[in-house]
Amino acid sequence: MAIVNIAGKDVDVDEEGYLTNLADWNEDVAAYLAQEEKVEMTESHWEVVNFLREYYNEYQIAPAIRVLTKAIAKKLGPDKGNNKYLYELFPYGPAKQACKIAGLPKPTGCI
């Protein structure tokens, strides 16, 4: 557990850098978390991050990568719902990195 100051606001993160409280999330926080992950956020990145937040709001979990890929394919099309596309955006694992930037906990079933 640590506290980081983002754009003038104190935010709790866990030992791996995930937000402790989802409610702390905003775009500034996301930008900070992305910077920590060395991910340069483009519109495509935001699309995935926002998708994850919507998924979490609906189901209360961060999806496993396989589930995320399938769900994105269903909503945004197969050219985005595939491992290659998602790993290009988030090289260290879309479920892990994108979830972190989206302010979600680490995916359940992430092994």
Binding site: E58, Q60, P63, A64, V67, K70, T108, G109
Partner: protein
């Protein structure tokens, strides 16, 4: 099946063998940790490409009733997560008819699509499993 491990083999010889796993849920949510723990194990099990089913029996049927709002008890409402199971390719959800009726509930009160089974059908489902994991 290995008698020693109750059928859970992780060695190379059995790689690719799909077994029937049933998670048997018999406890109401929130009062104890069983329901949530079961759900987490179920989600993790999805990664192993096995034939997974869930059974809701006795107070376990309360896990999937609609209209759960947990703000007042300061616990996470995990009921929406049952609706994510389909995305994890877990689509076999069996509910015990007697248990539903004993609680004044019907299929319409449940927040996911399920198969309601009478005692004989539920008994057969359990009997055909390789592994039944109880919560």
């Amino acid at each position: 099946m290995s008698d020693v491990t109750g059928g859970i083999d992780m060695d190379d010889e059995t790689e690719g063998v799909v077994k029937k796993f049933m998670f048997l849920n018999r406890k109401a949510p929130y009062g104890t940790i069983y329901a949530l723990e079961s759900l987490e194990v179920v989600l993790i099990s999805a990664a192993f490409d096995q034939d997974v089913s869930l059974a809701f029996v006795d107070d376990g049927v309360y896990q999937i009733v609609k209209g759960q709002h947990t703000k007042g008890i300061d616990q996470k409402n995990f009921s929406p997560t049952y609706r994510a199971l389909e995305g994890y390719d877990i689509e076999k959800l069996y509910v015990d008819k007697d248990s539903l009726e004993a609680r004044g509930l019907s299929e319409e009160d449940l927040l996911v699509d399920v198969q309601v089974l009478d005692s004989a059908a539920m008994a057969d489902k359990m009997a055909e499993q390789d592994v039944v994991i109880s919560f």
